[in-house]
């Protein structure tokens, strides 16, 4: 999808020897050191997630009552059998963090996929049909935006019941308005352009106009929002997990791990510090990548 959508703007570039759009994109993107660093971290987290089973020294669920709250290996009392120590019921922290990476990435991607699919359809409909349909959709989105995001997510989870699936759905609903607004704004900007009129005159149906003509040209802001959206989704889902409303124990979700660790803040710094650090690093990486993508894809800032 990316290759196709990135190529689209090249049609507008005047003749000569323009660089390949992907190459041009990369030259902008790679100049941004923060964005490259973000990409590297994301690839690392991705590898952790994919190879979690191989890399983990223990099962993330296996409890061992001989090693409660064992510190990391470099501290006195620690051992390399449990490199990052154990939690209050003797589970290996490293294994849980690795499996948590898998969960967090899945959460981020699923939430964004749901919100983006629904948001694009609603945004296209609002942008194309105008009138009462548009007013209803946009007013609904305004209401969602008015409510503090976490409060709304909590209310939705209270209705659906706590759990990872419901938490993901709740976060997807909370972030939906951003995708609707971006799509609608892009659609309104595009529909008055000549190529859309040309397609309409040559008999393209509304559905074809919406998805084949207009949508690919709205892709840049959506890609940026999706990248930034992954970080929001991971953060919000972890917050719900921390409040006991997201993934339920013993699932090795980073937010849920922090909730379990709260009471040990006084005597075991590692059970509190490490899961949060993973959340921060992953979220920061997605934000860096998103900022870099925005700078590289935003034609207004180019040159």
């Amino acid at each position: 999808m990316t290759a196709e959508t990135l190529e689209a703007p090249s049609a507008a570039v005047p003749a000569g020897t323009p660089p390949h759009p992907l190459r041009e994109f990369w030259s902008y993107f790679s100049a941004n050191r923060g964005a490259v660093a973000g990409l590297v971290v994301i690839v690392a987290v991705l590898l952790m997630a994919v190879f979690a089973d191989v890399l983990s020294p223990h099962s993330p669920y296996l409890t061992n009552n001989a090693v409660f709250l064992k510190p990391p290996f470099w501290q006195e009392g620690g051992s390399l059998a449990y490199p990052l120590g154990t939690d209050a019921i003797g589970r290996d922290i490293l294994s849980r963090l690795l499996h948590g990476a898998r969960l967090s990435l899945v959460i981020g991607i699923v939430v964004v996929a749901i919100a983006m699919a629904a948001g694009i359809v609603l945004g296209l409909v609002a942008g194309f049909f105008k009138g009462i349909t548009e007013i209803v959709i946009m007013r609904l989105m305004d209401i969602v935006l008015t409510m503090p995001s976490l409060l709304l997510a909590i209310v939705i989870v209270a209705i659906l019941g706590p759990g990872l699936m419901n938490a993901m759905l709740a976060v997807a609903i909370v972030v939906l308005p951003h995708y609707v607004r971006i799509t609608r704004a892009a659609v309104i900007g595009e529909t008055s352009k000549d190529y859309v009129i040309a397609a309409r005159v040559s008999g393209a149906g509304t559905l074809r106009l919406m998805f084949k003509e207009v949508l690919p040209n709205c892709a840049a802001p959506l890609i940026v929002q999706a990248t930034l959206g992954v970080s929001t989704a991971i953060l919000d889902a972890a917050a719900l997990g921390f409040l006991g409303l997201g993934a339920q124990p013993p699932t090795p979700e980073w937010g849920t791990m922090l909730a379990d660790a709260r009471e040990f803040v006084l005597r075991a710094w590692w059970v509190v510090t490490l899961p949060g650090l993973m959340i921060l690093i992953t979220v920061l990486a997605f934000n860096l990548l998103g900022d870099g993508l925005r700078d590289a894809l935003d034609p207004k800032l180019k040159r």
């Binding site: 409510m147 409060l151 921390f242």
Partner: protein, 336 residues
């Protein structure tokens, strides 16, 4: 101007209806019979169940039920807590000042650091300071604040023993509420021990809650300043020999502040989201902690009423910001 005010105020009505619909359906969508849900786990005898069904109008069509609900809400009746039997609105108003005190300190902190940091970063563009501010603010923006709070407790309360771990004030002090803000009330009472205690309880939660707004304000101030500094009138001011500091303070900052003020207004929702987490970590007795406890106790009337009240507060603040903005900036007022 009147036309502008009326348009903005009328736009609030659908939002208000939406919030009431959310609260109305909240208690009906929770699985199970709403009366039993409201009665809690102790259960209810069939005769009283029937009585309550009539009283709440659950035997009537949904639209009529909604009408009854709205008229109750407009009279200030938001039901009673299952657990404490207190009315939701009186519990809310008892706890709300604590949240406001925390939120005001947080936003003040965010402004006091974020504005100068953003301005300096823009003026010294691409310097080490600029990169540092940008890096730190992106980190702050990405911060899981529930973890940030635990880290600060670990450092300042556990390792250094400077600040208390939880609560609003040490137990030995009792301050008669006047404003509801303990820091102000203790000063009014002339009790400096209590003031010190209240302040030391307030510091860490305010830092935690202020972190995300601080990051947003610093970033926004920087980019608004950069945009303004590129304008022609800045070049004119510089060319005619005006002192650099005067150019920044008088010409650039005033225009750069317009988008910043909007962003500050938009932080109200962010502050409530943060307050739910911050109050849970620090056992701060505000409305955020109250709502989370309501969930774990399955106290649905509290959740329903609290959601409605917070929604209305955020909506009103947004409206106020909108109106003020129109007052300050005539371009907004006359735009169609």
């Amino acid at each position: 101007m009147l036309r502008f005010i009326l348009t903005r105020v009328s736009l609030v009505i659908p939002t208000f209806i939406g919030i009431t619909l959310l609260a109305f359906f909240l208690i009906r969508l929770v699985p199970g019979d709403p009366i039993e849900t409201m009665a809690g786990e102790r259960g209810i005898d069939p005769a009283r169940h029937e009585l309550l069904r009539k009283e709440f109008g659950f035997d009537k069509p949904v639209l009529t039920q909604y009408g009854i609900y709205i008229s109750r809400v407009l009279q200030g009746d938001l039901g009673k807590s299952i657990v404490t039997r207190e009315s939701v609105i009186s519990e809310f108003s008892a706890l709300f000042p604590a949240t406001i005190e925390l939120a005001l300190c947080a936003i003040f902190l965010a402004l006091a650091i974020g504005l100068p940091a953003g301005i300096l970063a823009a003026v010294k563009r691409n310097s080490i300071f600029d990169h540092g501010v940008m890096g730190l603010s992106l980190t702050g923006y990405s911060m899981p604040i529930f973890w940030w709070g635990l880290l600060l407790i670990l450092l300042f309360s556990v390792q250094l023993g400077i600040t208390p771990v939880s609560g609003r004030i040490a137990v030995q002090y009792y301050i008669e509420p006047v404003t509801g803000f303990l820091t102000i009330d203790s000063l009014l009472a002339g009790d400096f021990g209590a003031f010190k205690s209240a302040l030391s309880h307030l510091v860490l939660p305010a830092i935690v809650l202020g972190t995300v707004p601080l990051a947003v304000i610093a970033r926004m101030t920087r980019s608004a300043m950069l945009e303004v500094l590129g304008e022609d009138y800045i070049r004119t001011a510089r060319a005619k020999g005006m002192a650099p500091l005067r150019v920044i303070a008088l010409h650039a900052l005033r225009n750069a502040l317009i988008p910043v003020v909007t962003v500050i207004g938009l932080q109200v929702g962010v502050l409530f989201t943060g307050a739910i987490l911050t109050e849970t970590i620090f056992s701060w007795p505000g409305v955020g902690k109250w709502l989370i406890e309501a969930i774990s106790r399955r106290d649905y009337p509290v959740l329903q009423g609290g959601t409605l009240l917070i929604g209305v507060v955020v909506m009103s603040v947004n409206l106020l910001v909108d109106l003020l903005y129109g007052l300050i900036n005539p371009r907004i007022r006359h735009a169609r």
